[in-house]
Symmetry: C2
Subunit: 335 residues, 2 copies
DNA sequence: CTGAAAGCGCTTACAG
DNA sequence: CTGAAAGCGCTTACAG
């Protein structure tokens, strides 16, 4: 019932291998033979079986992208960048959402290995080192996206979180805020660490005393921003500004402030890493550190391709610059 | 170099087929044999090759989900529902973003057929009928998600767009708005049509004359909402409220209103289909028709599975009810 | 409960 | 420029 390469070969009066040559555009085929083969393919509605192809050739032309949060616009933008670049090279991308869960990540990796993907782009979770070593042992090529992993020597494409956080904090200080709180992501994740470091660096440079109560470690989630803001504002000495580790946290912060009838930025300023999608349409308009998410995905695929082709053997780290998008917040979120 | 089923068989002192039985948990294997096989698998770090498995068994335990916009939270939520349900059944989901582009959709379908997916969940674009007929001819199982396609008899899982739009318009009318504009999605897409129909139905029932200038057809994108709002407000007779076809359009509407220094809801009310992610944290807070996106993905997979198992042969249409989430908007987006 | 043989649909060397 | 043979790593009947 299924149309195979042999059916096409028979119809075109050639051998299967010649059909294969036409499909894959390798080897020599005469113009006339090629025409006949193409005609047969189209007449029979032939669809090559990639399982058979991959089984023999040991290449599937498929790569995977593991993102840690599919609902986060940063990651969907990374995915678009990766997909566009991959498509241009004739590769398919399998998009997998690990939800920051190392076990889910490990399950996905196993599934992907069974599927014989050629390589993997990984936005690692807080506990990926063991999985990555396993990949290394198996000789599977991968590139880390957005986050470095301690103790793992591998290609990384990420943005300069520390510099971004440093600039943002500097901006807040220059604007006149002295008491700045930081609600960030897990310190087990490099972006969580680097953003905290940038914040601390800027305060230190200005000789501002670090208030430990102003530093909160959470998850990269709105619920975390919400809970930690409530915690933060229970303190006697309230901060004048809150800098958040990503836009999801910022969303939770805004919600908490709203419930506490605190106005942004009149009562307290808020700024974040990553833009809140559609935020330009609403007020207040948060100043944000903008990451080149699309580029990160794109460069990630480029790196992986070069590695797959053997064009590159040394480990590389791409650290892309970020942009501070300063907005004079003008709204009030008071009830 | 690669560890195959024969290596495991040799190590365990059994035949390959016995190893296969252990892995797939079918056929009879004695306790002791199974133990030895599992030991060998673990010792050799054996990873089964799904290409070979699928080639012979003609089943890949893989399904695909085509979404039309990966940056739209509605679709990522559908994807999560689909993924969770699929995982529970031991299926993998390939997530593909068609970007509302019929050609991209067609390319993806071809790639997926080559990959021998067992079935496809499709959020169809404005021009999918031909691709769907092709799938039908090839005997490929699929389920339509979110949108029906005219002239195509296939399983559909969608929410009740018309009822939702009807209720929303009724609510606006009951609140006192008489001049209500509608900025929706393409009429070539069923959700675009149904939402317009619901709006018109509510106006008609109240005996309100339809103002053609108040009805705008666009894309399900912010840029569309933005441009059409500007167009809409050029009219002499300005509407008192704008009802949008989805949250992305609403975002563009808000941006345009902001630029025109119009206050929401004091100068003009805005409401939409789908919630804007994180909107609760900002003002104004839009009243919205909430769709059971997660359920849609989940039920889509269930339907597909029943069809794949041959448990179901008749075409079914699931129309899920929606919820009107009424918020008393309290903010002002004036500059 | 276990296994030998055949074959899924391709591509890889190797010939010519 | 074209093809016959072998094999990728599994599973499917069929035996026993």
């Amino acid at each position: 019932m299924t149309v195979t390469i042999h059916d096409v070969a028979k119809q075109a009066g050639v051998s299967a291998i010649t059909v294969s040559r036409v499909i894959n555009q390798n080897g020599y085929v005469s113009r006339e033979t090629e025409r006949r083969v193409r005609e047969a393919i189209s007449e029979l509605n032939y669809i090559p079986n990639n399982l058979a192809k991959g089984l023999k050739s040991r290449k599937t032309s498929t790569i995977a992208l593991l993102v840690t949060d599919i609902t986060n616009a940063f990651w969907t933008t990374v995915a678009r960048g990766a997909e566009d670049e991959a498509e241009a090279s004739g590769l398919s991308v399998l998009l997998c959402n690990t939800d920051e869960d190392p076990q889910k990540e490990n399950r996905y990796i196993t599934t992907l290995l069974k599927q014989q993907v050629d390589g993997i782009l990984i936005g690692p979770t807080a506990d990926s080192a063991a999985h990555l070593e396993r990949l290394h042992e198996l000789g599977v090529q991968y590139v880390l996206i957005d986050r470095a992993v301690e103790g793992i020597q591998a290609d990384v494409v990420r943005s300069d979180s520390q510099a971004g956080a440093y600039q943002m904090t500097q901006h807040l200080l220059a604007t006149g805020y002295q008491k700045i709180a930081f609600i960030g992501g897990p310190l087990a994740i490099s972006t969580g660490r680097d953003r905290l470091l940038g914040y601390q660096q800027a305060l230190k440079e200005k000789g501002i005393e670090m208030n430990p109560a102003y530093i909160k470690e959470g998850l990269f989630k709105a619920s975390s921003g919400y809970a930690l803001t409530k915690e933060l504002l229970c303190e006697n000495d309230r901060p004048q500004a809150i800098f958040t580790g990503n836009h999801l946290i910022a969303t939770g912060v805004m919600q908490a402030l709203h419930e506490m009838s605190l106005c942004v930025p009149d009562d307290i300023a808020v700024c974040s890493f990553d833009d809140i999608p559609g935020v330009n349409s609403f007020s207040p308009f948060l100043t944000a550190v903008i990451q080149p998410a699309y580029e990160i995905g794109k460069i990630g695929v480029q790196l992986l391709l070069k590695r797959l082709s053997g064009e590159r053997t040394e480990v590389e780290e791409f650290v892309l610059p970020v942009n501070l998008l300063i907005r004079s917040s003008c709204g009030c979120n008071r009830k």
